[in-house]
């Protein structure tokens, strides 16, 4: 590492009194020097901005059908930069509006899943014994529940829409995060530095928070970057079954699903939403790898 200045060393020393601050500052500094991660953040920022503001700039209504332009390819002349779908609706505005839904669900559900899964897995693994058994068998039960009925129950309570999808997918995907973190914890808790923390009289919950969780961050961040596409595509599956986002509202998942059957005749209907998703995921990946490298306590 390039910055082993006195500040950083002292910062690390002071850590035991002042939780985190210098660690975060330190990590952010390293993140800034990772060009791929910075590029990823810029691209994701631009995509978010485009989805947030873009719909106000596109001169078409997402529900309006242009009967003179049905299934036409992208063109500057007509103003349909991404072309139109088989109902004559502008693809660009649908991709932008769909991005709002997909990004919100994808990123929110992943963050919730990571927070819940990490805490749950770390506590189960660190506690061990009967507590671990009980907590992890509960995870087994949740894995096994009939997912579609679970979604139906949620839509009965919260109504059909983004909230139900968010809860449904979120409550399924944290399970694997918990399994992974628990596995890491089982191995970590036998290490010498945990032994030392215990001998030093640290309370179990603080050991989990200060020593176990930071050390599981690597696999967790990597797995989180895999969750985002899983959520976004999973939403399209629920929508296909009539439980998710419904027409005329759109999402990247539903647009990709609608574009897939037409991929030979009108490939742009698949390529634009698919491309938007792919670009987002690539960028998120570089951000994830950058975060992992910047905040992993073992990488000092």
């Amino acid at each position: 590492m390039t910055d082993t200045s006195l500040d950083t060393i002292l910062g690390a020393e002071l850590d035991s009194d002042e939780p985190g601050r210098s660690k975060i500052k330190d990590g952010l500094g390293r993140l800034r020097r990772n060009h791929m991660a910075v590029a990823g953040m810029v691209i994701v920022g631009l995509i978010v901005l485009a989805c947030a503001l873009g719909p106000y700039l596109v001169p078409f209504d997402p529900e309006n059908q242009d009967y003179s332009a049905i299934s036409t390819g992208p063109s500057f002349a007509s103003g349909h930069l991404f072309g139109t779908d088989d109902l004559g609706r502008d693809v660009l505005i649908r991709v932008l509006l769909g991005g709002r839904t997909s990004l919100a669900i994808g990123i929110l559900a992943s963050i919730v899943a990571v927070v819940i899964g990490t805490s749950y897995g770390a506590i189960a693994g660190f506690a061990g014994g009967a507590v671990d058994q009980f907590m992890m068998r509960f995870v087994d039960v949740l894995y096994g529940l009939p997912f579609l009925f679970f979604v139906i129950m949620l839509t009965m309570v919260f109504g059909q829409g983004i909230l139900s999808i968010l809860i449904a997918i979120g409550s399924l995907i944290w399970l694997t995060v918990a399994v992974i973190v628990r596995g890491q914890t089982l191995s970590l808790k036998q290490k010498e530095f945990i032994e030392a923390a215990r001998a030093g009289g640290m309370k179990p919950l603080s050991i989990v928070r200060r020593h176990i969780v930071p050390n599981t961050i690597g696999p967790v961040i990597v797995y989180a970057s895999l969750l985002v596409p899983e959520v976004i595509l999973g939403e399209s599956f629920l929508s296909y079954l009539g439980l998710g986002v419904q027409e005329p509202a759109s999402s990247w998942g539903t647009l990709i699903a609608a574009g897939a059957p037409a991929m030979e005749q009108e490939p742009y209907q698949l390529l634009f939403p698919g491309g938007a998703l792919a670009l987002t995921l690539f960028s998120l990946n570089f951000i994830a790898d950058g975060l992992r490298d910047a905040f992993d306590p073992k990488d000092r």
């Binding site: 061990g128 014994g129 058994q133 992890m136 068998r137 995870v139 087994d140 039960v141 894995y143 096994g144 529940l145 009939p146 997912f147 579609l148 009925f149 679970f150 139906i152 129950m153 009965m156 399970l175 694997t176 399994v179 992974i180 628990r182 596995g183 890491q184 089982l186 191995s187 036998q190 290490k191 690597g218 696999p219 961040i221 990597v222 797995y223 970057s225 895999l226 596409p229 899983e230 595509l233 399209s236 079954l241 990709i256 699903a257 897939a260 991929m263 030979e264 698949l270 698919g274 998703l277 792919a278 995921l281 690539f282 990946n285 790898d289 992992r292 992993d296 073992k298 990488d299």
Partner: protein
């Protein structure tokens, strides 16, 4: 170790009972019923149907009856596939899903771990970025896009393999196995890369290198062992999910597996078939997570269960 294994098998019984109980009442609480499709049925016919399948009894009584029958390994008749019992449906389809699923997991684990290791050894090089890009395509492109593309390329254009269908021959298995293994390849290669990067820097790996052990043996014997824990944790539930089939891939390649039942049974409100698939999948999940736990203690001697 054997004691731990046996105790876990015992714990599986209350786990399964909890799963069955919650699922049973959740399924019944959902609106709709198994006869919704028969618009023309008269009230008498409906009443007779309900009576024949004991759906007219109070719910707790039905629950008791169901528990009693599954204790005798009787999972009841399917409501939709008349003339078939739930056990018959699952045991007709499962060997096919298992066949394809196990191959897909095997391919995914082999390719994913190798790619992840190579990427970790050459961290932040062109090879690393290339591997991670390929991996990303695997998760970003859904199987309802990759599968038709595979059919278009290998069946319709090159004529190497059949488009779809199932006769048990290897030709019919290759494309679905390939399509099924893409997402787990991506996940495994990324997880392996991440933890291998850490593992390669750890003290025991440095010691092995310092002792003069070659890079190949160091990676295989020392780095991989510690670096495989997250991959292994992912593999447990993923295997249970993949060997129970994928509704999308089974539809596209017309494979008579059990993946479709998970969706069809739910939308048909085929109560007995839903419960059958829940129990079957639940048993697989419980076993998969048990084997993962056993493998932990083999891979990492520090992991102990009391």
């Amino acid at each position: 170790m054997l004691r731990y294994f046996l105790r876990r098998l015992l714990i599986a019984i209350p786990t399964l009972l909890a799963l069955i109980t919650i699922s049973f009442f959740m399924i019944r609480a959902a609106p709709g019923g198994p006869w919704d499709g028969n618009r023309k049925a008269t009230p008498e016919v409906m009443a007779n149907l309900n009576k024949a399948y004991h759906l007219d009894e109070p719910l707790p009584e039905q629950y008791g009856r169901y528990l009693w029958s599954i204790m005798h390994l009787d999972f009841g008749p399917s409501f939709k596939y008349r003339d078939y019992t739930v056990s018959e449906l699952i045991f007709l389809g499962f060997p096919i899903s298992l066949d394809i699923g196990l191959w897909a997991i095997f391919v995914a684990a082999t390719v994913g771990i190798s790619l992840g290791t190579v990427a970790a050894l050459r961290q932040n090089s062109a090879i690393d970025y290339a591997v991670m890009t390929v991996g990303m395509v695997g998760v970003a492109v859904p199987s309802f896009v990759t599968s038709p593309l595979l059919q278009l390329l290998f069946a319709l254009t090159l004529h190497w393999l059949p488009v779809a269908g199932w006769d048990g021959g290897w030709q019919h298995k290759i494309l679905p196995i390939f399509a099924l293994s893409l997402p787990p390849i991506a996940a495994i290669s990324r997880l392996t890369r991440g933890s291998m990067v850490e593992s390669l820097r750890s003290n025991h790996v440095r010691t092995a290198r310092a002792k003069g052990l070659g890079i190949r043996l160091t990676v295989l014997r020392h780095a991989l062992l510690g670096g495989l824990l997250p991959t292994l944790a992912y593999l447990g539930p993923a295997t249970a999910g993949i060997v129970t089939g994928s509704v999308v891939i089974e539809k596209i390649f017309s494979i008579p597996g059990i993946g479709r039942y998970f969706v069809e049974a739910a939308s048909n409100r085929d109560y007995t078939l839903v419960m059958g698939t829940v129990i079957f999948y639940g048993v697989l999940i419980i076993l998969a997570n048990l084997f993962v736990d056993l493998a932990y203690s083999l891979l990492d001697p520090k992991v102990r269960y009391d």
